[in-house]
């Protein structure tokens, strides 16, 4: 990180930033792979809904693993 950038500009990466990239972008393959493209698409949509529902807890200052919301 260059030192002239104000430190408050750098933020913790949210799980949503991660999900939006890892599940929705990148090289997408069909063919010999074990899982269909449509399956991962479905997971992506589901995860976004799940993240919205746990966001309330995070706003209250509690870092929540998405899994915790289901326990």
């Amino acid at each position: 990180m260059s030192s002239d950038l104000r430190p408050d500009l750098r933020q913790q990466v949210t799980l949503l930033d991660l999900v939006d990239r890892v599940l929705n972008k990148g090289v997408v393959l069909s063919g010999d792979i074990t899982l269909s493209v449509a399956d991962v698409d479905l997971v992506y949509v589901g995860l976004r809904v799940l993240l919205a529902s746990v966001a309330t807890l995070e706003e209250q200052g509690m870092p929540v693993a998405i899994g915790d919301a289901l326990r």
Binding site: D4, L9, L16, L18, V22, L29, D32, R48, A52, L70
Partner: protein, 260 residues
Amino acid sequence: MSADGWYLYGVVEAPPGPLDVEPDVELVTEGPLAGVTSRVSLDEFGDSALSERLGDAVWLEENIRRHEQVLERVLASTTVLPCRFCTVYRTEADVRRFLSERQDQLTAALAEVSGRVELGVKAFVDPERFAAGGAQENEQIRELTAQTAQAEGGRAYLESRRLERLVGDERARFGQEAASQLHSRLLDAAERGVLLDLQRPELSGRDEEMVLNGAYLVSDRPGFERELAALAAELSSRGLELELTGPWPPYNFVSEELRG
């Protein structure tokens, strides 16, 4: 009893030089390209098992984070073309066949992002800071603010409602203007850039309204970050807040032919 499959995280140029990666991460080299892989149990990552796992949020979060961590450690040493989550082949030969069949596209896509990283920039408008800052540049708002401060009773209420509406409209206008100014100046400091979907407050984890969610492919990081700092300095007194994420593997800059 269980057979192994090959989880493919991404593709690098071969040979990539020394990589500081987790011990179970292996390179599968085929000609000028190498797949960044690890062996996974097909009990866990085979098609039927996997559909079940994909409903398990704990498993998902763990593996999404792992996918990104593996790629970030590779990214620290070399350019990597990221694959989507859960790209799993049954055999090493399948991985090699993919690398050789798509060699031209992969090589071209790698060349496009070589020596560059993806940086994410998000911008938000803070309503209170905007009301005290940017909104006061509007003469009508300044006047109404002064009037409202002097008014009493029912009139004070009506005028403060009118002021709120006016500030709200002005904030929306400022947000759009700031977003387009930010994007155009950040594009000048980057090789390429794309606008991603804005995240609603319940998803962004912030109360402020998001006005920009951009991803930029950057070769001169210090230059890009200087420009971002300059923009922050120019716009923060008016209520704009900026967030920087990355460097990311270039997820948003994988060429269309490789996007399924």
